[in-house]
């Protein structure tokens, strides 16, 4: 499955960046990454994405398999078959697993990206994919509802239209 592969690739990329951060950023002052936009700062986070619900390690360790299970069920049982919908789920799945690995093995999540121009929690690759995947999923969902509404409209119009079948 292509979409599971997307998730695996995200986990790999996320873990590599985290490993690099541990060896290069740990115990140092934040460094400028992209001037005025992104700094690199090593943070150990015990909460969810963007440091919400800090300290609930076991809650997340328990919740992640549930989320992963639901997403895998949706993908494998073909409850969603649209490409964009599946890609967005693959992204969320990869991000969730990336942080899950941290919580399980380290007990905390390693974050390293910090916006230079605004006060915003430090985040990592997994957070980026969870957020973008989530937004993409909402976009997919709205689009699919719109197309469904269009079909419904045609059906209504059909029911109210000329019943030519009786004329023949």
């Amino acid at each position: 499955m292509l979409y599971i592969f997307i998730a695996i690739a995200i986990v790999a990329a996320d873990q590599l960046v985290k490993l690099w951060s541990v060896s290069n950023l740990l115990g140092r002052e934040p460094v400028e990454f992209i001037q005025g936009i992104l700094n690199l700062r090593y943070v150990e986070n015990t909460g969810a994405a963007f440091s919400i619900l800090t300290g609930q390690r076991w809650l997340f360790i328990a919740l992640t398999p549930v989320a992963v299970g639901v997403i895998c069920y949706i993908i494998f049982a073909k409850k969603i078959t649209n490409k964009v919908g599946l890609i967005s789920l693959g992204m969320v799945l990869g991000g969730a697993l990336g942080n899950f690995v941290d919580r399980l093995l380290r007990g905390y999540v390693v974050d390293m990206f910090e916006f230079a121009f605004i006060k915003f929690p430090v985040f990592n690759i997994a957070d980026i994919f969870i957020t973008c995947g989530g937004l993409l999923f909402i976009a997919y969902f709205v689009a699919s509802e719109v197309s469904l509404a269009r079909i419904e409209k045609r059906r209504k119009e059909a029911d109210g239209g000329t019943e030519s079948g009786d004329e023949a």
């Binding site: 049982a77 699919s144 469904l148 079909i151 239209g161 030519s164 079948g165």
Partner: protein, 309 residues
Amino acid sequence: MKLEAGNRVGERIDTFVAGKTGLTRSAVQKLIEEGCLTLRGMPVKKNYRLVGEEVFELELPEVRERGLEAEDICLDIVYEDSDVVIVNKPRGMVVHPAAGHESGTLVNALMYHCGDSLSGINGEYRPGIVHRIDKDTSGLLIVAKNDMAHVSLAEQIKEHSCYREYEAIVCGNLREDSGTVDAPVGRHPTYRKKMAVIRDGRHVARNAVTHWEVIARFPGSAQSQAYTHIRCMLETGRTHQIRVHMAYIGHPVAGDAVYGGKDEFGLGGQCLHAKKLVFTHPRTGERMTCECELPEYFRKVLTILEKRV
């Protein structure tokens, strides 16, 4: 028939004509080779590209001369006027002649019924045919009786404004009450006569969307298989679309052995009926709805299932 290029500059002539008429590109190329397409009285070359604002003249070969025989086969005509005819095709009838099915097709029957008045655009073997229904699928099919109607209907099919609704019995009990399958359909990579959901990017596939909703459930028991009576609303109309999509989500159409559907009722084909058709009338511009009853084979299956409950 006149075809105006307008501002479409640089487009290949066969692509342009195919788009305007609903013909296949190869059919158009054949017509061009035969000199049927002219520009200011001169035959157009096959590799011609549009320069914009030309007006082509397409002369279609006469349907009758081509040796396709009109046959007196009883047809269930649901609607007919001087532009279109809507037929309720029985299951088992092939729409147009092809290898292995030279006679007894819907086209043969229509030629008898309509006489000379069938649009010749789609070539010698498919006069008036703007869309198809599988051999073993029953239900409504709209046919063009003149070129004006053909161009209009082909365009409606292409831009999905011709709305079609099917009813089917599928294997198994669908979990939800409604859903959508949105997965590209293309030719099966190994079984050339089958279609399949294709996502590998290496094989040709076209996007296809099927919305479905449950009409009735027949949950089955320890001894008997579950079935669901569903309604399918099509956004696209690819070959075998409903059959492939329902099989893809694990609920093949009952009787559809090609795609893994059990044939418990001895149907010898899929239990699928094109029940409703909505289109814009080519002449009046009026939105028209055509609907027909479920055919006997379908009702029989429903009766058997209802008795089980």
